[in-house]
Amino acid sequence: MLCVRIIPCLDVRDGRVVKGVKFQGLRDAGDPAERAAAYEAQGADELVMLDVSATPDGRATAVETVRHIRAELSIPLTVGGGVRSEANAGALLEAGADKVAMNTAAVEQPELLTRVATRFGAQCAVVAIDAARRLEGEGWEVVTRSGKHRTGIDAIGWAREAVARGAGEILLTSWDRDGTRSGYDLDLLTAASRAVPVPLIASGGANDPKHLIEAVHAGADAVLAASIFHDGDYTVRAVKDVMAAAGLEMRLEAGQ
């Protein structure tokens, strides 16, 4: 049986791990390769590195950072942030990413998903969807450009379309919950999980293991969290032990 995956997320800017609420007030949280190795040793099942650099120089640094992380890491690495073309995706995969997550660029040019999936395989094409509850009416809309732009596009409909275009996995972030530590948006997870056959990674809002368990019961196949691990509140292994005790299938072998 497939195990529930625990995925720590490293937000990286100019070669350093940073953490802040909704990308505001970023604090330095360490060296990416050291952090990555430490998370693997704690039992992380996979890592996501999100490049939050705002400049072309920062982006070039991200490829180098991927190379450094890959030399240390024996678990899968997904890289997102600023993936705007097949060439960007190829450079990250060549540097050692196993999957690339496409967000704003996929919304603005959905054929990018198809091109990446066709060339590199659907298993490397992750669509990252930032979803916010609509200000009026039911459901969620897609937000892009790090939350600056509310697109009006139905998030669940976009999930379906992205999979039809070739995405092999969905990284679904609740924009309302991200960084708030108030728990995942469970209704959003359930709606997305029912809409698509591909694996679903829940993101945004985790504060303790209970939240991760709720996300899995709501339909997530994997859970992504940043703050609770960065701040040392919990180790990955401690979270996995709680989830296993709650009856979830977890990988409990020691890390490297």
């Binding site: 678990i75 899968p76 990413a97």
Partner: protein, 197 residues
């Protein structure tokens, strides 16, 4: 440690497999020369991407060199799509012949509520006759699977929907549906055993 040639199929993401081999002290070198592959001590056939595109690059002498190594029982490791390339064919690319050096055909995962791709960590249960494969969790990323163990090979099984063949081995020839290079300490141990087989 002698050199290991990693087949460059042109479609595969090779960084992770190269990094994994380096972490177990091998010296991987990328290779697309059939003569060098035929002579190499050890060969790794990685596989990420679409089957038809990968077969296209194996069509010439590369595929023949690989098939000859496997028939002769020379140390060869096939990973993920690399494993499926050894078979006769796959639902992924109807009408495209695989190398056909191992009997079998890959089918698409189907089933109500079944997550496809099969992506993540799942349990590998080796048969009693396996020498390299040991029980543990491995990382998988695939949509097509081999249902029946090929005759003459020791096989491991994994359950996704139903039980299927997640790896098979014979002497120093090992084919894995999962990615040992992405399967943590368990995967690195498997790479070490293969390097010594």
């Amino acid at each position: 440690m002698s050199g290991v040639r990693v087949v460059r199929t042109g479609t595969a993401n090779l960084a992770s497999v190269v990094a994994g081999l380096r972490r177990v002290d091998a010296e991987p070198v990328l290779c697309a020369d059939p003569d060098l592959l035929a002579k190499a001590d050890r060969v790794v056939l990685p596989g990420v991407g679409a089957l038809a595109a990968a077969m296209e690059t194996l069509r010439g002498g590369l595929g023949d060199a690989l098939a000859a190594r496997i028939r002769a029982g020379r140390p060869t490791l096939a990973i993920c799509l690399g494993m499926q390339l050894l078979l006769e064919g796959s639902d992924e690319s109807p009408g495209v012949a695989g190398l056909g050096v191992v009997a079998g055909h890959a089918h698409k995962f189907t089933g109500v509520g079944l997550r496809v791709p099969h992506l993540g960590w799942n349990r590998v249960e080796p048969g009693a006759d396996c020498r390299l494969l040991r029980p543990g969790h491995a990382y998988f990323a695939h949509s097509f699977y081999l249902a029946e163990a090929p005759v003459g090979w020791a096989a491991a099984r994994t359950t996704h929907g139903g039980a299927y063949v997640s790896a098979f081995e014979r002497g120093p020839v090992l084919a894995c549906q999962f990615h040992p290079e992405l399967s943590g300490a368990w995967g690195l141990d498997l790479l070490r055993r293969w390097l010594e087989a």
